[in-house]
């Protein structure tokens, strides 16, 4: 295999893996509060986190630039403090993947957490365990399969992320060209053989992960 293909594949896996770790930590926390707590603006929050699922990735990318670009309302302070901007780095690809994959994690794990038998949670309270203890020992272990399914789906989604990544991280060969971006460039420059190889590779990888997600989620829903 060509070294640029290997680079793109490694970068794609790296970006998807790192994004999935953040999605897992942040997504499960948000899903837990959405599932267990009643607070003002709860459904607004849910809609906000779900939007990237239905918005075109370019729109999500646009918002991310507004927030994290060098002149963005968060990016500006980051740049002033450190002289560093996330734009056009592989971290930007992670951020883009994180935002588009998050809704899949939240939806799947919220459903799994909500489906945990209320009596088991109550039993845990009457046995002297606090909300946190109950979450760690009863609720999350029982929602485990849904959470794993969400993580696998998120990983697959991150692996295929294109639009928001293109806007935020650009398509810099040897720097930010993940597999989907590399395929775009190769097809654009007429290198159909190489593009086809990568397409096949990506299809197999995505199919494998979806198969794993199905194996887990079947037992949950």
């Amino acid at each position: 295999m060509d070294s640029s293909v290997i680079f793109s594949m490694r970068l794609s896996l790296q970006v998807a893996a790192v994004a999935t770790i953040f999605v897992l930590i942040f997504g499960v926390t948000v899903a837990y509060f959405l599932a267990r707590k009643n607070f003002k603006g709860k459904e607004v929050l849910d809609v906000l986190f779900t939007l990237p699922l239905v918005l075109p990735p370019t729109v999500t990318g646009y918002y991310l630039i507004i927030a994290f670009g060098r002149n963005g309302f968060i990016g500006r302070y980051l740049y002033e403090l450190t002289g560093w901007s996330i734009m056009f780095t592989w971290y930007a690809a992670v951020l883009a993947s994180f935002v588009v994959a998050l809704p899949l994690m939240i939806k799947t794990s919220r459903a799994a957490i909500e489906s945990v038998d209320k009596n088991l949670i109550n039993a845990s309270f009457t046995l002297g365990h606090t909300e946190t203890g109950t979450a760690l020992k009863v609720i999350l272990p029982l929602a485990k399969k849904g959470i794993i399914a969400g993580a696998v789906l998120s990983f697959a989604r991150a692996l295929g992320e294109f639009g928001a990544t293109l806007m935020l991280a650009g398509n810099l060969p040897g720097k930010t060209d993940t597999m989907p971006l590399a395929i775009y460039s190769l097809a654009g420059s007429g290198d159909w053989d190489k593009a086809g190889g990568m397409v096949l590779l990506l299809t197999i990888m995505a199919g494998l992960f979806l198969y794993m997600a199905n194996r887990y989620s079947r037992k949950v829903f």
């Binding site: 009596n119 109550n122 039993a123 309270f125 009457t126 046995l127 002297g128 606090t130 272990p141 029982l142």
Partner: protein, 267 residues
Amino acid sequence: MGLTVDIKKRLNGFTLDASWEIGNELAVLFGQSGAGKSLTLQLIAGLMKPDSGIISSGENDYFDQARGINIPPYKRSFGYVFQDLALFPHMTVRENILYGSKGVPDEERLERLADLTGKFRISGIEDKMPSEISGGQKQRVAFARALIRRPEVLLLDEPFSALDNPLRIEMRAFLMQVREDFNLPVVLVTHDVYEAFTMPDQLIVYSNGRVAQTGAPSEVFSRPASKEVELLVSAKDIYSEMSGMKKVVHFDRPGPDLHRKAEIVIN
């Protein structure tokens, strides 16, 4: 030792307004489904918050609206056995029982576990999952889990209602033995008239969210205070299974004190 309950709670158009007090005895909350018995237990355990009133046990005030006291459920000392037992399906029998031992010193935990499994005849199944043991064993595990922390009061939400008859009879006797061994107040929720008559020291009859009558079972059954209590305690089909509709029926109290007989006259 005992339990004082005086609570009001409105919930989805239903109003619970119940007040009763028990000592170190077995009390049965008896009434039709939807009368507020299970809701009362949940409020006592702190799983829901009453609108007003007090809940106290011995020297511990668990809820007092006037003084702004509302102790969270995990700090209340009640052993609770749920109707569906609520054994954790992802934990072994041992893990399930030990899960109830929070606050027990480490060196004492295993001692208590061994003591309970021995007493309840469930030793040898500690490494099994709840799905792998029999219905009777599940019941005993749920009791062991609720008791390992040595709670002040044992609350039972119709734990025997889904059992087949032989097992139900066995578990009634088991409960009387538990009450004797652990010497703690027990509140049993049931809509089974046989349990209401034979098991309690004090019978508390619920009707539409209110306490309709309290007293010794023989007293309540022979002198119902109102028409609604009379209907509850004299449903004829319930007696037929036991004594063929004789005028005077003798019930054996299940459990260790079989010599204690109760007596009732059906009019």
